[in-house]
């Protein structure tokens, strides 16, 4: 029996007349990649924002690790094991790659009142950061300033910073966007590797990648889910064919 780590039910987000997300329910299980695909403006990022607690939804409930997390702040959800990456990079360009991860990892061992201790010598966060860098293959460039990385490496760092907080659930918003073939392969390997211990929600436009790695695919159109099934079923689903995959 698979273990559900994150569950959103009846999530709706309205902005004025626009219904960006319409009664979406979604479950993420440990050991699986659940892909959410859809055209531009379908509401995928908005869904991730709501699940991660960026802002409260107009309607809907969220359960994280079996607890009602609907009213938890974003920070609390992160501390309880929910990591997310952003569609646009949110790295700290003036910090080294290592410090980007170390600072994120520090969130798990916050001791702000110990004002006399050097944060760089905080063992727990240094170890967590090194592990995250190792996992995401950035160890070689760890002393470099994050702003000087290549685009692909910045995307990797975006993920590494998520991993640094040692989450159980990962919400990844287009981690492959703008990556070359080689970088894409490396990222897919990383995701396959992460799949074991984590529940992953993957928003992605690269269909080859999605069908390669996803265990389940949810298709959104104009805020609503039109299908949610295994990749094989999605491939032959007539609604999906007409609405989205059309030319694929």
């Amino acid at each position: 029996m698979a273990e559900t780590l994150l569950k959103g039910s009846g999530i709706t987000q309205r902005w004025g007349g626009l219904v960006a997300v319409n009664k979406v329910s979604i479950e993420l299980e440990r050991g699986t990649v659940h892909a959410v695909i859809g055209t531009n403006g379908a509401g995928k990022s908005t869904l991730i924002n709501i699940l991660s607690g960026e802002f409260p939804p107009t309607e809907g409930q969220i359960q994280l690790l079996g607890k009602d997390a609907t009213h938890w702040s974003q920070a609390k959800r992160a501390r309880q094991g929910l990591g997310r990456s952003y569609q646009r990079n949110t790295i700290f360009p003036d910090f080294t790659v290592f410090e980007n991860c170390r600072l994120a990892a520090q969130a798990q061992v916050q001791r702000p009142w110990v004002w006399w201790n050097d944060a760089q010598k905080c063992k727990q966060s240094v170890e967590a950061a090194n592990r995250a860098l190792e996992l995401s293959g950035l160890t070689e460039v760890k002393e470099r300033f994050a702003g000087l990385l290549s685009h692909g490496q910045k995307r990797q760092l975006e993920i590494a910073m998520c991993l640094a907080i040692q989450p159980e659930v990962l919400l990844l918003d287009e981690p492959l966007a703008g990556m070359g073939a080689e970088e894409t392969d490396r990222m897919l390997k990383l995701l396959a590797n992460l799949k074991q211990g984590h529940a992953i929600l993957l928003v992605e436009h690269d269909m080859d990648a999605v069908f390669k790695i996803a265990d389940r695919i949810t298709v959104m159109v104009n805020g609503s889910v039109i299908a949610s099934d295994t990749p094989d079923q999605i491939r032959i689903n007539p609604d999906v064919q007409t609405a989205y995959l059309g030319g694929h």
């Binding site: 991660s52 960026e54 702040s73 974003q74 920070a75 609390k76 992160a78 501390r79 990591g83 997310r84 952003y86 949110t90 790295i91 700290f92 360009p93 003036d94 910090f95 410090e99 600072l103 994120a104 520090q106 969130a107 798990q108 916050q110 001791r111 702000p112 009142w113 110990v114 004002w115 006399w116 201790n117 050097d118 944060a119 760089q120 905080c122 470099r144 300033f145 000087l148 910073m161 640094a164 907080i165």
Partner: protein, 333 residues
């Protein structure tokens, strides 16, 4: 990081040593001027904690300074010296408490609104001392007996006061330098660059910002205490927005994001002010000192985008052309 620290500490160490030796040859006018600058430097560092380190542009720092100063005078008995032991903590605590209150409300806003709200709260404090009996109105109040600590420290003596101020200048710098590299300081830096990402990582940013704001207010209160004791006098101008604005100019002039920038900025600002105010140099034109000061500051900021702390780098580039310094090449490779 270590390199950055050693460079910073070398320069500041020399500066502090120079300041400690100054009373050996300085005139009493000079001593008073340098005391004033050291106090402004403490105050500017308190603002740097907010603006340069956390990215919170506070336009009401003068209020916390003024509260520290007024408490020092109002709580002093009329015909004898108060004890430093409780008067100084009282000043710091009062300023920090007001900062806690102002921060709790203003930190719910962002950007320009934050600037305006901090200004509004500072103006509130200003009008309380300006328009009520409590603060002595526009005339201000005198402090006839300066605080003492038994027979060890007597702040009525200008030299003692000078060293007392010097100790707190060094203390503030060291305290903030250590604070900024701690867990707490790193979170502030993260908030400055990308608060959203900090929240997504699991930091509740509001309490961090509030703690920074309160700490900053307390240090500004310390500066206010020192200023009131130095001058033996307080008036509402200490809380005016002109001072809040001047402090922002000091830290920008010195170089945002560097503690020593706040100290350098305070020196540069006051020296420039004295220079353009001097009738010996400018004759009648000295009346228009603000014009000269303003133009010089604009020129400085235009030529030195990183402030005065960036001056060595600019000079190095001038001297060696556009060649990259060696360690930058390694990074860029």
């Amino acid at each position: 990081m270590d390199k950055f620290f050693s460079g910073q500490f070398l320069f500041v160490g020399l500066l502090f040593a120079g300041l400690a030796l100054y009373p050996l040859f300085g005139s009493s006018y000079g001593l008073d001027l340098v005391s004033k600058i050291m106090i402004y430097a403490i105050l500017a560092m308190s603002l740097e904690l907010l603006v340069g380190s956390t990215g919170l542009v506070c336009f009401g720092q003068a209020a916390f300074f003024g509260i520290g100063a007024y408490i020092a005078v109002l709580f002093s008995p009329e015909s004898e010296s108060a004890s430093l032991l409780w008067l100084l903590p009282a000043s710091i605590l009062a300023a920090a408490t007001y900062a806690l209150f102002v921060g709790a409300l203003s930190l719910r806003t962002k950007g320009v609104y934050f600037i305006m709200v901090t200004l509004a709260f500072a103006q509130m404090a200003y009008y309380v001392v300006h328009d009520t009996k409590l603060g002595g109105g526009t005339d201000g109040i005198y402090l006839y007996f300066k605080p003492i600590l038994g027979s060890v420290i007597d702040l009525n003596d200008a030299k003692v006061l000078y060293f007392f101020t010097w100790v707190f200048l060094v203390w503030t710098f060291v305290f903030l330098a250590i604070l900024l590299r701690s867990h707490f300081g790193r979170v502030l830096a993260g908030i400055r660059i990308n608060e959203q990402r900090m929240r997504a990582s699991g930091f509740s940013t509001y309490p961090y910002k509030l703690a920074a704001f309160t700490t900053s207010g307390g240090i500004a209160g310390l500066a206010g205490f020192l200023f009131a004791v130095k001058d033996g006098f307080v008036n509402p101008e200490m809380m005016s927005w002109h001072l809040s604005g001047a402090l922002l100019i000091m830290i920008i002039l010195g170089g945002l994001g560097h503690l020593r920038g706040a100290i350098i900025g305070a020196f540069a600002f006051v020296f420039l002010q004295e220079f353009f105010k001097s009738p010996a140099i400018f004759g009648d034109f000295a009346k228009h000192w603000q014009l000269g000061l303003g133009l010089t500051i604009i020129a400085c900021v235009a030529l030195l985008p990183k402030g005065l702390v960036g001056l060595p780098e600019v000079l190095r580039k001038r001297l060696y052309g556009s060649r990259q310094p060696r360690d930058a090449q390694v990074v860029l490779k």
